[in-house]
């Protein structure tokens, strides 16, 4: 599967207009170089080889950990990735934690108050949350908290000169909350219906008839069953998280993989596009395998095949 996808990505890049040489040479220098020299450069770089040969070279290089070089700066893609990945991970993990905790909490609260005012308010908030573009939400938050209230700094990952995680946490708060909240609505909806589902089960009636206090029935007996599918859902939200962080990183000028990706797409920096695409697919595939395993572990009715 991964091989097929890597081939497709390579094919896709192949179809992009222009090649590496076109981008390596600045336009003003192009006049000084003869077409023959250009051809020589191409064959030195192996760009003349047949398509399949280049694909095999590329894939074997990658297996060795050589991901190619940025066409603009000449820096190894692996270096670029290791520079940007921590920032993205920091943001994604924070957003994932926020959306999971808040989403399941609000969902359960909503389910326990079904039909009452709290449930309705949360449902309406969820509807707005699904419909508002992520970046617009980010922009509104920037205007509110950065410009008007001036509580938080704008953009970037740290103020120059600051060190350590806690000194730059103020930069993380806003993007993480925006990305987290924008994913909360979906989780909330899901955990609400999951909780309602589990509260309708027979064992809840049994628990009640045994005289267990209502809060214990809800929180111990109901919640445990309801949260299993919600936990599994985390895996399915990974593609969304990757997509969301691409947009949010752009809004907040967060120096992560997403921002690098957008810049690479704009300047057709193919090695970077390839790598980001490849890794994001890898993450999604690994996550879906983990989801299968987790489901099998948590739910005895499901068997791994």
């Amino acid at each position: 599967m991964l091989l097929v996808i890597s081939f497709l990505i390579f094919l896709g890049i192949e179809l992009m207009p222009g090649d590496a040489v076109d981008f390596m040479i600045p336009p003003d220098a192009l006049a000084l170089i003869s077409p023959a020299e250009l051809d020589q450069l191409r064959s030195e770089l192996g760009l003349d080889d047949p398509f399949l040969v280049r694909y095999v070279t590329w894939i074997t290089n990658m297996a060795k950990g050589d991901f190619g070089y940025s066409l603009q700066s000449g820096v190894a893609v692996s270096t670029l990735l290791s520079n940007t990945l921590p920032a993205t991970l920091e943001l994604s993990v924070a957003a994932l934690v926020i959306s999971t905790l808040l989403g399941s909490l609000l969902g359960v609260v909503s389910a326990l108050n079904k039909g009452r005012i709290g449930d309705n308010v949360l449902t309406v908030a969820g509807m707005i949350g699904v419909a508002i573009p992520q970046f617009l939400f980010g922009l509104i938050m920037i205007v509110l908290f950065v410009f008007n209230l001036q509580w938080l700094p704008v953009g970037g990952r740290m103020t120059p000169g600051s060190e350590g995680f806690f000194q730059r946490i103020d930069h993380l708060i806003l993007p993480a909350i925006v990305l987290g909240l924008s994913m909360t609505a979906g989780v909330m909806r899901y955990s609400r219906s999951s909780m309602l589902d589990s509260l309708n089960k027979e064992f809840i009636k049994t628990a009640r008839s045994k005289g267990i206090p209502e809060w214990r029935v809800n929180l111990v007996h109901g919640l445990r069953v309801a949260m299993t599918p919600v936990a599994v859902l985390i895996g399915f939200r990974l593609p969304m998280l990757i997509g969301g962080s691409v947009v949010i990183e752009q809004v907040f000028q967060w120096p992560g993989v997403g921002q690098m990706f957008v810049a690479a797409v704009r300047s057709q920096n193919t090695p970077i596009i390839m790598m980001v695409a490849f890794f994001s697919v890898l993450i999604v595939l690994v996550a879906s395998i983990l989801v299968d395993i987790a489901t099998a572990l948590l739910d005895p009715r499901v068997k791994l095949s």
């Binding site: 599967m1 097929v4 996808i5 497709l8 990505i9 896709g12 890049i13 179809l15 992009m16 207009p17 079904k114 509807m127 707005i128 699904v130 419909a131 508002i132 573009p133 992520q134 970046f135 617009l136 922009l139 509104i140 920037i142 205007v143 410009f147 704008v154 609400r192 219906s193 309602l196 593609p239 969304m240 990757i242 997509g243 691409v246 947009v247 752009q250 990706f261 957008v262 797409v265 704009r266 057709q268 596009i273 980001v276 695409a277 994001s280 697919v281 999604v284 595939l285 879906s288």
Partner: protein, 304 residues
Amino acid sequence: MGSKTLQRKMDKLLALEEQGKLQSSNTSRSLRKLMANPLAIIGLVLFVVMFLACMGAPLISTYGPNAIDLRNRLSPPGEGHLLGTDQIGRDIFTRILYGGRISIFVGLGSALGAALIGVSLGTYAGYRRGMLDATVMKVSEIMMSFPQIILVSILVTIVGQSLWNLLLIFILTGWPSMYRMARSQMLSIREQEYIQALQAFGIGGFTISFKHMLPNAIGPIFVNITLSTAMFILQEAALSFLGLGVPLEQATWGNILNVAQDLNILRNAWWVWLPVGLVITIFVMAINFIGDGLRDAADPTQVG
């Protein structure tokens, strides 16, 4: 929900049906349920109003979408310009109307195009199973393992930025989910007895799947089309915000928002980006309301 009121309702309906005042056909019942859903009505009204306003843009606004008024650059909302002007003096209100045309077109067109491909493949492959189904399934699996925005950005780089290319890309990346939905519907329908009867009559696969099975799956398909329309509109906005959508010269909702990347405009000229953002949100919400209403009307098992 009191069961007594429900019973009384049912009795009333039965009485009406007996008098022949109500058609008991499935579609009209769904329609009635849709019309009884206040959120769906609100959604429908908002959708129609905004749709008509955008389509009738030249009637509503006297400005052109790209007409430049250099004396009034970045002027706040007020007389002359209802929602103010942007940094080169174009009327924001007019641009929102004209931008809506493109944005709605992209959203609706992509959803319909994706549905056309996905549903027709899913209908036939879901009925036939076998090689065709396995192959298309694998292809859709591969496409769906890309995070949407990454796949779309790569395709944008390959084919270049233009309105039609964007539409094409959305269709290309959107059909797999439609395919899966249609296929799973077909898989459950094909187990029903009337399909066996049709097969016994020697009716061809195309006729069975498209004429006799597809109509029974039309509810979920409509729901999916509405919800995808909303999704594509949001995606167009996000892509245009990143500068990868429809070329900037053309007004779309996303392109109008694009200028909000400029911190100065973001800070001092709210009328440039906030109204269009609200318009997108409200429009998407309206479509979602319609979609949810359709789902509740078409599928009685899902409540809440």
